[in-house]
């Protein structure tokens, strides 16, 4: 008997992507069960970002289908986004807001209201303690990335799509992200990460997908 744990949560079949008149990839297949980590690899311009953006519906695929818990994601409404968190190249951090405001506003918009103490806790864990109230424009690139990543601690979603999130982070922060992803996976989440660095996760199930140019 197949337990519910083994059922694929996210299934990608025969996915293809065309940008302009260039074909980036075709025939991409994978299916991810809870607790699976998928590392996307490939040279620059091979379509890692496009693949992640297709999975979170920011981009339309040329062909193929994506199923989330058995339902086609195109037929799912906004409720699909209660299951997905995407962090891309651009941090999504407002320069005019402090770290605290950034975190509270972005969570508020996602329907998760957190009070100030909780936000301070989360930012403290991200190593931003003492800098919560400074406008983000005064912070370094790595610190702003940490504000963006702090959302992962609050978001409560099952699928994390992380696009080159390790750039401009120091060793301590990378270790922190690694432990965050491990915690997420052990809770039955899915993480799809596009990265050139090895993450060396202690995950039970690790898949790799190599996109060629």
């Amino acid at each position: 008997m197949k337990s519910i744990e083994e059922k694929a949560m996210l299934e990608v079949t025969n996915l293809g992507c065309v940008r302009g008149d260039r074909r980036l990839f075709k025939g991409v297949n994978f299916s991810l069960t809870p607790g699976t980590f998928l590392q996307l690899q490939g040279p620059n311009g091979s379509g890692k970002t496009s693949l992640l953006r297709i999975i979170c519906r920011l981009l339309a695929q040329a062909e193929g289908e994506i199923h989330w818990q058995g339902a086609n994601i195109c037929s799912l409404g906004e409720e699909y986004f209660t299951a997905v968190t995407y962090l891309g190249h651009r941090n999504g951090v407002k320069d005019e807001f402090s770290a605290l405001e950034n975190l509270r506003v972005s969570n508020g918009l996602n329907g998760i209201e957190i009070n100030e103490n909780r936000a301070r806790d989360v930012l403290g864990r991200m190593g931003l303690g003492g800098r919560e109230s400074l406008p983000a424009r005064l912070l370094s690139e790595g610190q702003r990335r940490r504000i963006a990543l702090a959302r992962l601690l609050v978001c409560n979603t099952s699928v994390w799509l992380l696009d080159e999130v390790l750039t401009s982070l120091d060793k301590v922060a990378i270790a922190l992200i690694r432990s965050l992803i491990e915690e997420h996976l052990s809770n039955g989440g899915i993480a799809i990460v596009a990265t050139h660095q090895e993450l060396e996760l202690a995950a039970i199930s690790v898949q790799r997908l190599e996109l060629a140019t």
Binding site: C56, F81, Y86, G88, G92, S106, L109, N110
Partner: protein, 219 residues
């Protein structure tokens, strides 16, 4: 959730208040240039007043439209807004409402004051105020479609004007028409009703069109 997006945009506008003041200042200057250039002929000033104030309002709203989505687009918060579990329609509506409060309401409030330079009567100033109050939401609503379509393009400021200004023509005709009618002493009702109809029509369709345009621009 609408509350979050409106509050967010209002706080952002407050922290960049120089942008808001520049729009208002532009409006004041443009409207004031006409009496100075044309001279103190009360009758002539009176007859051009509705058109001048309304055209200046259209041009001033052009200044703030470019910023409606551009800043959010650049720092990546716009794509995060698209990924929230709420209808994009509502988010767009919230942003447009905040933009209207910040960029258009100051114009509505200051316009009667500027109308005095054109020797308008008290009743006409009131009509001017009311037409702007009903008509300026259209400027934000239709303008948002242009802003979303030109997102991320070079020279988008000029492009927005070319796209959007022709669509403002009905508002201009009915808005200025009502004020004109008030100066002539005839009934303003028909113009006001038509202006209201344009507002309701754009309130229905513009957020929807803007949402679609945003999705295309972010691909």
């Amino acid at each position: 959730m609408l509350r979050w997006i409106v509050r967010r945009d209002l706080i952002l506008a407050w922290r960049r208040r120089a942008d808001v003041f520049s729009t208002v200042f532009f409006f004041v200057i443009v409207v004031s240039l006409f009496p100075l250039g044309i001279g103190p002929e009360a009758q002539l000033l009176k007859s051009i007043a509705p058109g001048v104030v309304w055209v200046a309002a259209l041009l001033a709203s052009m200044l703030s439209l470019g910023r409606l989505f551009a800043n959010d687009y650049q720092d990546g918060t716009l794509e995060q807004l698209l990924l929230t579990p709420q209808p994009l329609y509502l988010i767009v509506l919230g942003k447009i409402f905040a933009q209207w409060l910040v960029a258009e309401i100051p114009l509505v409030l200051i316009a009667p004051l500027l109308g005095v330079q054109f020797d308008l009567s008290k009743e006409t100033l009131l009509v001017l105020f009311v037409t702007l109050l009903i008509g300026t939401p259209v400027l934000s609503l239709i303008g948002s479609v242009g802003a979303a379509l030109t997102l991320g393009l070079r020279g988008s400021g000029v492009l927005i004007s070319i796209l959007v200004l022709p669509l403002y023509i009905p508002v201009l005709i009915f808005g200025a028409g009502a004020v004109d009618a008030s100066i002539m002493g005839s009934s303003t009702e028909s113009d006001l009703y038509l202006l209201g109809a344009v507002t309701v029509l754009s309130l229905t369709f513009a957020p929807w069109a803007t949402s679609a345009a945003l999705r295309i621009s972010l691909e």
